[in-house]
């Protein structure tokens, strides 16, 4: 007897990822593709790519996609979802895109309770342009535009987007996971599934923030970068569920019970 233990998700194309060694995007793409497969959503989903390293995500996901201007993915997704309310619409955005230039778009999409799902990759820097300081760069963290380390007295403090959006009334599900070990990756996938389920149930805005390594721009070997996520990033950006209205919506459904609080 043999069984397939590991196969390429149907939602992933045959294209080879262009990402750097140790980058989290490849893992996040796969988790996303597996989630869409598991829920059987591929043919009814429209994705929105953003500006950053993951802009070419449409080369890797075998589903309809639009590419948005920098930061505008939630607005583009809003346009799509309002036209096609019975389709599943998600954005895939980085931290510069979502938390800096696109802050208005993400906050208002969340405040409207726009029924879309946001996959937010937080790797603490602008990857595509070569590792500049992002709104999520940690205090003291060195980047090409904070060469002496982020000085919060001049460059301000990092934004905790999950917490910020969870404070609004619009969102239905907000969680943060980290791609620093297989157990946390499994948790990220669980959150993704819940976020997409949330949209299927018309509950409103859902976002999964995923802490992710950027070894190349951080100037670290991949194992050290994973440790940075585990020790430094998790300390500033706690993991867990910050908002979850699915339990209320599906009372009696045990599998969708309340999640553990942030830790």
């Amino acid at each position: 007897m043999s069984r397939i233990a590991f196969a390429r998700p149907k939602t992933l194309t045959q294209a080879r990822f262009h990402y750097c060694p140790g980058c989290g995007h490849g893992i996040a793409h796969r988790l996303l593709a597996e989630t869409i497969d598991a829920l059987g959503l591929r043919e009814k989903t429209v994705g929105v790519a953003s500006v950053g390293c993951s802009i070419l995500i449409y080369n890797y996901l075998d589903l309809d996609m639009q590419e948005a201007a920098h930061g505008r993915a939630p607005a583009v997704a809003t346009g799509i979802k309002r036209v096609l309310p019975d389709r599943i619409v998600f954005t895939y955005q980085g931290d510069g895109d979502l938390a800096s230039i696109g802050l208005a778009e993400i906050v208002h999409a969340a405040a409207r309770g726009e029924n879309i799902t946001v996959v937010f990759i937080n790797n603490g820097n602008y990857g595509m342009t070569g590792g500049q300081m992002a709104p999520t760069t940690l205090p003291g963290q060195k980047t090409t535009t904070s060469p002496a380390g982020r000085d919060v007295s001049r460059a301000g403090h990092p934004l905790r987007m999950a917490e910020l959006l969870a404070g609004l009334d619009g969102p239905a599900f907000i969680a943060r996971a980290a791609l620093c070990n297989p157990a946390e990756a499994a948790r990220a996938k669980k959150y993704l599934k819940k976020a997409f389920r949330c949209q299927e149930m018309d509950l409103g805005f859902s976002m999964v923030e995923i802490l992710s390594a950027c070894p190349n721009n951080w100037g670290m070997e991949p194992p050290a970068a994973l440790q940075w996520v585990e020790r430094q990033m998790k300390a500033y950006f706690p993991l867990g569920v910050f908002k979850d209205t699915t339990a209320r919506a599906t009372r009696g459904d045990e599998s969708a019970g309340p999640e553990e609080p942030p830790h």
């Binding site: 591929r42 043919e43 009814k44 989903t45 429209v46 929105v48 790519a49 802009i55 070419l56 449409y58 996901l61 075998d62 589903l63 309809d64 996609m65 639009q66 590419e67 948005a68 201007a69 505008r72 607005a75 583009v76 997704a77 809003t78 346009g79 799509i80 979802k81 309002r82 036209v83 096609l84 389709r87 208005a104 778009e105 906050v107 208002h108």
Partner: protein
């Protein structure tokens, strides 16, 4: 049946009758009646009205909706249109059809809420980054605002391009009798729209081409399309030009005032006529050349410092082109135009 309507409301109602069911916008004077009208009407007919958090978000919502295959629109005035330029460049590159309305006000900066034609350059030269153009329609009556708003969706889909309806604060606010176009539904099939890849290969709406040769090839396609537009879609009106010695070139609200000036001057025996571009891009160059062939003098009249004037000069090289303009929200009166025409006519007589 004729109705008395404000120009802004005529645009909004005509867009609905053209099958537009999605409006995304942000309040700004003097176009706000468009969004207020649609905020009331769209929910009645199963459409979506969404007041966006910004002009930038609004135009990107139009991008998403148009990319999903819908007839969608936004509207604004100068300062807001400047903010929308990012999205307009992306719409042009991704070849997404939609309607964008600019009800012009005086600029630069916040300027004033009174009428102006100061956005001619921005409208006709693309406006945002990169090599692109938009069809620019310039109505001169409330009837034409309705007709051109109605037409714009078919034009946008035929050429897969955003269309800009360029009008101004006076046109937007004034009321006139209008015969609204009959309701139509749908639009053309869109074999590029992203609506879920059920039973077909996936589709991608994008503007990035990392390979310069690929991007040049896309640019060539866009330019070929602009060539088609130039060949087939120029519109203009000529008025009392048959035996004219002086030709006024004006668009929009100025053309309207100039028409009165032409009638008044004709009553005084002065042979003057009007050439009115309806498409500001593509500019009706050949028609203007033909119209100008028989006249002694050409006078361009605009509510700006001389913007269309450049296109008139490009069309009529070697000819002396007179210009009369007011700026900053001041609207020209017929008597000002009459005085200027008389002045240049006398100087040409003397020459």
């Amino acid at each position: 049946m004729q109705l008395m309507m404000k120009g802004n409301e005529a645009i909004a109602e005509a867009a609905l009758r053209a099958g537009c069911r999605y409006y995304f916008g942000y309040p700004i004077t003097p176009q706000t009646e468009i969004m207020e009208y649609l905020a009331r009407r769209l929910p009645e007919i199963g459409g979506v009205f969404l007041q966006a958090e910004s002009e930038v978000a609004a135009v990107n919502m139009v991008y998403g909706a148009a990319g999903a295959g819908a007839r969608a629109m936004t509207s604004s005035s100068g300062p807001g249109i400047s903010l929308k330029q990012e999205g307009i460049s992306f719409l042009a590159c991704a070849e997404l059809p939609c309607l964008i309305v600019n009800v012009m006000r005086g600029g630069p900066g916040l300027g004033t809420i009174q009428a102006s034609q100061g956005d001619y350059f921005q409208a006709t030269r693309g406006g945002g980054h990169g090599d692109y153009r938009l069809p620019v329609l310039a109505p001169a009556s409330v009837q034409e605002m309705a007709d051109l708003a109605f037409l714009s969706f078919d034009l946008a889909e035929r050429y897969r391009t955003p269309v800009l309806l360029l009008t101004d604060g006076v046109m937007g606010q004034m009321m006139e009798p209008v015969r609204l176009p009959a309701e139509k539904t749908g639009g053309s099939p869109k074999p590029w729209a992203t609506d879920g890849c059920l039973g077909r290969p996936r589709r991608i709406v994008k503007t990035l081409s990392l390979d310069p040769r690929e991007l040049e090839s896309h640019n060539r396609c866009l330019q070929a399309k602009y060539g088609e537009l130039t060949a087939h879609e120029t519109r203009f009106e000529s008025y009392r030009l048959e035996d004219a010695e002086v030709m006024i070139a004006a668009f929009g609200i100025c053309a309207r005032v100039a028409r009165t000036a032409v009638d008044n001057l004709r009553e005084r025996g002065l042979p003057v006529g009007l050439f009115r571009p309806i498409t500001l891009w593509p500019f009706p160059t050949a028609s203007l050349q033909a119209a100008a062939a028989g006249v002694r003098r050409v006078l361009t009249v605009e509510l700006n410092a001389g913007q269309m004037l450049e296109d008139v000069r490009l069309a009529l090289p070697g000819r002396e082109i007179g210009f009369y303009g007011r700026m900053g929200g001041v609207v020209i009166s017929a008597s000002e135009i009459e005085a200027e025409v008389q002045r240049i006519h006398e100087s040409s007589e003397a020459a």
